[in-house]
């Protein structure tokens, strides 16, 4: 499409079963009751001038530009704050209105710079448009009176400037921060003529304030007051393409606003059903990595990881790689080869990688980064409900009465969903937080959790069993739901188990450290507070009992009847943009796409017939088992697409040893990541801006990713690289575009049967299953019964982790993420986001810090049974005594040097959240850090391609 601003109806959409008909400028229009006159006028093609109104925030009625005349009504009411009424007759264009509007506009312009031609918002400015619309030709008051034209620009935010000289004090930014983002970082300071937008307290600027740089204020600003630096530098975009963000599992859709092949800005798409026009600092602004100088754009090979890289042509790289893979297969057998698909890549790309491994390599040794995040979700929800996915869409939270957040930190990890959640909480829904840390949701402006159960890390199952004990023993279960929808015998077994006195909150308090009375109150609230919705994250899954915890959550939802309708459900907050999709696409070693076990003959034959090749009927290796087998000598080659296992997987020493033991490691990525230090082949990847395909977000929503620029690696999208590698191995693939791959996915995967790129282009998005039974997709799952038939209660008992604290390692380390950085930081560390988080920090309670003589900012040595690293400490009571916390965004720290190989019993998802550690003062980097830095520098040497 060309460049057109997004339609703005002035005030938010109102949903009502009651329709109201009125007449506007002689045209009859029918709209839902409660709609504003302004929106009604917009819906029938009319247009009202306005400055303070925008449809992302509630009407304010301050600018006086949208005045109308209503027959029978006195005065000139503001159309934005006036609701429609049956039979109302409205006039939007009269001589009287024109006179008033022009007079108001004169006042605005009398205190506004007249620099339109050189202004960054020229031709994209609502003030300019409105001045033209009212026909303003001069300002009778002159420009010499008191004004704000000399106000200083605040350039502290790395992505946008605040120029108060251009501010018209419409409060749209303040209201966007309040209502859309929910941070309340902005305010109007002063009164009357002295009114001005202020970020934070006196003396603050945007960077030092509580602003989270989501961009909602910038999007809402009608002038150039809040303007992207990129627009100021590059000018107004000339075209826009709708695409999907490549950061977290929320799956925000954006308009990539372009100037030729140059991305100018990413603006949240108002019609996006996942984000509803909102964004976070990563998706909105942190896309600079796409053209970062660190990107590797030429294929590279080397015979030994001791050698420098050698830049080569694509042909040479692919021939070299295929030769190595074929030779290893011939010598050691197909099961010596495997690969890792990427949850950052598209469904189509994941599909091809798993197909290459199964049909080309000849093994089922395919795994994905979901192994280290949400594999327990797949296991737990498939066992209990019959499908490996969350049950709701994001909109569902607006119907929740009680929200239970366990092991998730949505304001950092899933910020756009968190804004929606906070909006619901401000409306009055109750909140229960189960987390060892006092995450921001526990207490933030206008939000306070009813209960924060600050449990001891590793005791999720004990806490959930205690909650179940209260629900069952106090008669709070929804037995009618259970009798109708679940296996009653299994429920009774479970109810008997949890009712045992040893599972009471009082009995478990010594284990969980959660006060029994608090836990009982939380359980009662969840069971009796109306629609109860559970949202969870990696604080649930990344434990030795991750799968048990997911099952325990599903048990609670079934026992209370909180499943199968809006406002309730079990909602895993997925980590990466396409982690749901990568799992759907058959990335696990035991199952084919659509979660069908590899041993199922009928399913296997379906694929064998379509692909024309026999498939191994035995499950393959998971990532940690691949590394074990590599050290053992039976696993020799690995193709890794878009994943950095050296930095992200636990026990870095073990990962390094496994990679080092392999004969051929192929890294297909944007950057020379840490894993590439042990690789023999580097295949340059393409960014989400350079490819076409689909991502599937945490609500099972399949959305298009659209290419807005040519791949910088010589023109190959990632699926084309995989196809080229397959063909170099002799497979003869002939996909001409990503849409053809989706057609194959739909042909072979029942839950995707009705999906095609053409349909996604037409409808925007679809939520699987999309098939004959659900032709329009499935926003809510299990509405008429569970996918597996009867809901299955499974008894879960608390089994303590083998990772124990003791005299040498007295503290428990838990790890997590922060808003401005993403996963291993490969993308965000290469953006200005580093201004908020330049290094990993270790959070420690003041008591523990004092016992060790540590002050805020001191260097400390963090040691576990597997390794040690150093980083700075930050002293805070956000963590409980005995618990420390850090992130793993920076390779210089590599927190995973410290984490262990203990993992979930069912899925081997690593136990990142529980590591016994000691923390002591330090005066420099650890020996490992120095050794690794030296190795990393050596490994990254590149010999340029020789001139001919």
């Amino acid at each position: 499409m060309g460049y057109e601003p997004q339609t703005d109806f002035g005030t938010p959409e109102v949903l009502s079963d009651v329709a109201v008909t009125l007449t506007i400028d002689g045209r009859q229009v029918t709209v839902p009751a409660g709609t504003s006159v302004m929106r009604a006028a917009g819906s029938c093609g009319g247009s009202l001038p306005s400055l303070c109104a925008t449809d992302s925030v509630e009407a304010f009625g301050s600018c006086r530009m949208c005045l109308v005349e209503i027959e029978g009504a006195r005065g000139l009411p503001a159309s934005c704050t006036t609701p429609v009424a049956e039979g109302m007759v409205v006039h939007t264009q009269t001589e009287r209105l024109a006179r008033v509007r022009k007079g108001v506009m004169e006042l605005y312009i009398s205190d506004h710079p007249l620099d339109c031609l050189t202004c960054s918002a020229n031709n994209d400015c609502e003030l300019q448009d409105t001045a033209a619309e009212v026909g303003l030709r001069d300002v009778r008051y002159g420009y010499d009176g008191a004004n704000h034209l000399g106000a200083a620009i605040d350039s502290s935010n790395p992505y946008f400037d605040f120029d108060p000289s251009k501010c018209i004090a419409c409060s749209r930014c303040v209201r966007a921060c309040d209502e859309v983002q929910g941070t309340l970082a902005l305010t109007i300071d002063g009164r009357g003529f002295a009114s001005k937008v202020s970020a934070g307290q006196a003396g603050d600027n945007f960077l030092s304030s509580e602003c989270v740089s989501c961009g909602a204020c910038v999007a809402a600003c009608p002038t150039a007051t809040l303007q992207e630096k990129a627009v100021k530098e590059l000018g107004k975009p000339e075209r826009a393409v709708i695409t999907t963000c490549a950061y977290c599992g929320v799956g925000c859709t954006f308009r990539a606003e372009m100037k030729g092949e140059q991305l100018v800005r990413m603006v949240p798409w108002k019609d996006g059903k996942a984000n509803r026009g909102h964004s976070c600092v990563k998706g909105r602004f942190a896309w600079g990595y796409a053209n970062h100088q660190d990107r590797i754009l030429s294929p590279m090979i080397r015979d030994s990881i001791e050698n420098p890289w050698r830049e080569v042509s694509w042909d040479e790289a692919l021939t070299f790689t295929a030769g190595k893979l074929n030779a290893i297969k011939a010598q050691y057998g197909a099961r010596a080869l495997g690969g890792i698909t990427s949850s950052r890549c598209t469904n189509e790309e994941v599909w091809l990688v798993q197909k290459l491994i199964r049909s080309g390599f000849g093994s089922n040794n395919v795994d994905t980064c979901a192994r280290v995040c949400h594999s327990p979700t797949g296991y737990g929800l498939s066992k209990t409900f019959g499908t490996s996915a969350g049950t709701q869409d994001f909109d569902s939270v607006m119907d929740a009465d009680v929200v239970l957040v366990i092991g998730a930190n949505p304001t950092d990890g899933h910020p756009v969903f968190a804004s929606r959640l906070k909006r619901r909480l401000r409306q009055g829904a109750k909140l229960i937080v189960i987390d060892p840390r006092r995450i921001d949701l526990v207490r933030s402006p206008h939000i306070e959790a009813a209960h924060h159960l600050a449990l001891q890390p590793g005791t999720n199952v004990a806490v959930l069993t205690a909650i179940a004990h209260v629900i069952v023993t106090e008669g709070l279960a929804d037995e009618a739901f259970v009798r109708e929808r679940c296996d009653l015998d299994e429920y009774q077994d479970w109810a008997r188990f949890v009712s045992d006195q040893r599972h009471s909150p009082e009995a478990l308090e010594a284990v969980t450290r959660v006060p029994a009375a608090e836990l009982r109150a939380a359980a009662r609230l969840y069971a009796t507070g109306g629609n109860g919705a559970i949202y969870y994250g990696l604080g649930v899954t990344e434990h030795s009992q991750g799968s048990s915890t997911v099952i325990a959550i599903a048990n609670l939802a079934m026992a209370t009847g909180n499943i199968g309708r809006r406002g309730v459900g079990v909602n895993p907050l997925r980590g990466q943009n396409n982690v749901q999709g990568s799992c759907d696409m058959g990335s696990f070693p035991h199952e084919l796409p659509g979660y069908r076990h590899i041993s199922d003959t009928a399913t296997r034959e379906l694929f064998e017939h379509d692909w024309g090749v026999a498939l191994d009927a035995e499950p393959g290796l998971r990532i940690p088992n691949m590394l074990d087998a590599a050290i053992d000598g039976s696993f020799r080659a690995l193709y890794v697409q878009g994943e950095d296992i050296l930095q992200s997987d636990p026990n870095t020493h073990h990962v390094a040893a496994g990679l080092k033991a392999m004969d051929c490691v192929i890294v297909h990525d944007l950057f020379l990541n840490e894993t590439a230090n042990y690789a023999h082949v580097f295949l340059p990847g393409s960014t989400f801006l350079e490819k076409t395909g689909t991502f599937t977000n945490a609500e099972r929503r399949i959305q298009m990713v659209r290419k807005v620029m040519e791949p910088a690696n010589g023109g190959l999208e990632d699926w084309q690289v995989t196809q080229a590698l397959a063909n170099a191995m002799g497979l003869g693939w002939t996909y001409s575009d990503a849409g053809e791959i989706m057609d194959e996915i739909a042909r072979l995967t029942p839950s995707f049967a009705g999906v095609s790129h053409a349909r996604l282009d037409a409808e925007g998005s679809l939520q699987w299953p999309v098939n004959a039974a659900h032709p329009d997709g499935s926003p809510i799952m299990h509405e008429d019964g569970f996918v597996r038939g009867k809901g299955k209660f499974i008894v879960t008992d608390y089994v303590p982790t083998d990772e124990k604290t003791g005299p040498r390692f007295p503290l428990l380390l838990t790890t997590g993420r922060i808003l401005s950085q993403y996963n291993v930081g490969a993308q965000t560390r290469r953006t200005e986001n580093t201004v908020w988080h330049p290094e990993d920090l270790l959070e420690m309670h003041p008591t523990d810090a004092e016992n060790r003589g540590l002050n805020d900012g001191d260097w400390v040595r963090l040691t576990s049974r597997t390794g040690e690293t150093t980083l700075r400490v930050t002293v805070t009571d956000r963590v409980a005594p005995g618990v420390v916390y850090t992130t793993f965004h920076h390779p210089a720290t590599q927190a995973n040097v410290v984490t262990t190989e203990f993992s979930d019993w069912a899925t081997n998802c690593p136990e990142y959240k529980v590591t016994a550690v000691q923390v002591m003062p330090s005066n420099g980097p650890s020996e490992w850090q120095e050794t690794y830095a030296s190795w990393s520098e050596k490994s990254r040497r590149i010999t340029p391609v020789a001139a001919e």
């Binding site: 188990f497 035991h590 499950p619 290796l621 088992n625 008992d797 083998d802 019993w905």
Partner: protein, 66 residues
């Protein structure tokens, strides 16, 4: 494959299924190993003396051998 690691994995699976009662736990542990373990992992634990296995895990591995 590293036997200690396989034993630890098998024992952990068995411990998490033990509350179902011994017979069901053995069934479930056996099924889990069958469904999720790669052939070389199964072969390695089958070739071991199983001395490092807890009773439920050992019974499950015995069944895998049958």
């Amino acid at each position: 494959m590293m036997l200690d690691r396989l034993n630890q994995m098998a024992n952990q699976i068995a411990r998490n299924l033990a509350m179902q009662g011994e017979a069901k736990a053995v069934d479930a542990t056996y099924q889990h190993l069958k469904d999720f373990w790669d052939p070389r992992m199964k072969a390695a634990i089958l070739a071991s003396d199983r001395a490092g296995l807890d009773p439920i895990a050992r019974a499950a591995v015995d069944r895998l051998a049958a």
